[in-house]
Symmetry: C2
Subunit: 396 residues, 2 copies
Amino acid sequence: MDYRFSQKMSTMKPSVIREILKLSSDPSVISFSAGNPASETFPTEKIAAITADALAVDPVKCLQYSVSEGYPPLREELVRWLGQDYGIDFSHNSLLVTSGAQQGIDLVTKCLVDEGDTILVEKPTFLGALNTFRSYNANLVGVEMEDDGVDLASLEQAIRSSHNPRFFYVIPTFQNPSGIVTSLAKRQGILEICRRYGVLVLEDNPYGDLRISGQPVPTIKSLDETGRDVIYLGSFSKLLAPALRVGYTVADDALMAKLVVAKQTTDVHSNSLAQIICAEFLTRWDVHDHIALLQEVYRKKAGVMCSALDTYLGGKVTYQKPQGGLFIWCTLPAQIDMPTFCKEAVKAGVAVVPGNAFYVNEEETCHSFRVNYSTPTDQQIVDGVQILAKIVENSL
Amino acid sequence: MDYRFSQKMSTMKPSVIREILKLSSDPSVISFSAGNPASETFPTEKIAAITADALAVDPVKCLQYSVSEGYPPLREELVRWLGQDYGIDFSHNSLLVTSGAQQGIDLVTKCLVDEGDTILVEKPTFLGALNTFRSYNANLVGVEMEDDGVDLASLEQAIRSSHNPRFFYVIPTFQNPSGIVTSLAKRQGILEICRRYGVLVLEDNPYGDLRISGQPVPTIKSLDETGRDVIYLGSFSKLLAPALRVGYTVADDALMAKLVVAKQTTDVHSNSLAQIICAEFLTRWDVHDHIALLQEVYRKKAGVMCSALDTYLGGKVTYQKPQGGLFIWCTLPAQIDMPTFCKEAVKAGVAVVPGNAFYVNEEETCHSFRVNYSTPTDQQIVDGVQILAKIVENSL
């Protein structure tokens, strides 16, 4: 028989990034295109020790069905840590463990968005979120970014010209793909404007721990003294390891009741062993020591990438020095056609992601590309940038 | 601010079963209400050995981002096994690893169902599936069951009186909650009728390995020589352990391309360590030996439950002797009010699930309740049935 797909899914295509990822799994291609954390940061021995202990001491806890809300000791550890380090108040909020923060984006969208409803996003923004929003047939509106976060006047304008937008999706710290850190003033401005128009803020913070310079800026969630106006997403993907698929969503209790029902219908609960690994890691060791290690690795790798860009592409590429995260947003002179550049780069053995992949409208012209410095080795970074430099030279 | 939920989620309530599960986590309550496999069947030492090896030999494979389709060696092992034992032909079909079969139900619904579209289900059927369908605002139509599966005339009638139903969801082997095995003739009839009207069959087979008597019946999927008309769902939840959250979906390649995109937007990929555990288990050991062990445990437990029902409720309860699975569907005389009976049972220390929880319309009267024999100990089975018998006696 012939298949008729749902309207929401009928226009969906495979994610550009995941297709590029597949290409870049060719070991001869230097991958600047992934969003993978550096594998050398994985605390493998600690994870192995926790796993062995858990299976020896209480296998039923590791293997039997559990509750949808998440493994209770993990939820307790997170409430403690997020309260202490991220200023999140749990007096009227609770925490749901999700299968990666990606599932948090999915469940929030499922609970809040009808087909055709508007979602506001930063321009550019995380492709994985855009695709989730698209899979619910949402109307997406991108809001222009400045060096210190979204342009507030454009945000207000976008809200006013949309019919009842459901939420504003924002990655305020080390944004993917731009690397931008939203300033405190703009975080306050975002909350004030969204609140004034009854628009929720969906704050995604997967990279917050990966600061390599400068001072931490409070989460938008910590500025929301009502507890009702910001939904907060976090993840263990960059802190411990992505294949654990453990993330979390913090929301007001009324909203959480709905999110838990959505979670039940989606995958019942997240993998228990992975939740136990995360909980025990937070319990047995000081997470700040581990974060310091991560920051050291990323500081070094970002330094190598910036040096290479300055050395081989100085005067041709424009970029903001990263304060953290995994990405640098590189802008080339306007006369270089970006899709052609990226295709030539892959052919020459370096995968980068064209900036338009992070736009609501992928057809729009973009003179930037995203590079990742956590996946490649130092040598690959130097070699890869040299290859890119040659292509730029030939294109000018 | 006040929350406005999406239409599809606004009427959703927490699953009755999961709420009952919470009640029955009180250790003083004997739980006949769960759908948990027997914990003593978990191959804990083998899982611990695989995990230790995998983390020692290739930690990056266990911990780094992977592909949405699933861990390739697991997909290969499953293709081999499902081809051999379940007659599934992969020449134009492929397999997606999901976070439990529940996620397969979710993704199939997301890809095929617009709000208001009709889904046909057995009456009664698995509550978890009903809730997933409800969370997409589907129009649900239940089709009456007979002792050997759905009534075919009712199925055809239901299709004809619905506007373009999207699929028929069916658990043909050891159905949850009824325990019914759909006969081969009816499986052929279901496929023939659905095909004639262009309705897909969504075959869910989580219990297929748990046969305790009688001969295996071919899967509906194996009868579908076109490969296009049946989507097949399987799970490791009962075979190895549910908290791994590993299931799989088999579908025609055209449909699979859409399912993979939906999977990407939902949780990127399933937990890798769990997928490696499943793959290695199928590689290192003969799964038939493990299945024989499971069958032995369940045969014994089902025997204890049937003896207790016959001894203490003989002549009052009607039920079909299970050929496998985890459940027995018990019907009481019509003068007993089922919701009252179930409430009194929990108060007296035994949790069972009222049959109407498995109906499309939960308000409809049902004279049956579901008992599970895999979770309680033998002593709890005997004690629990005696408690139920007293309540029945007092209600007549």
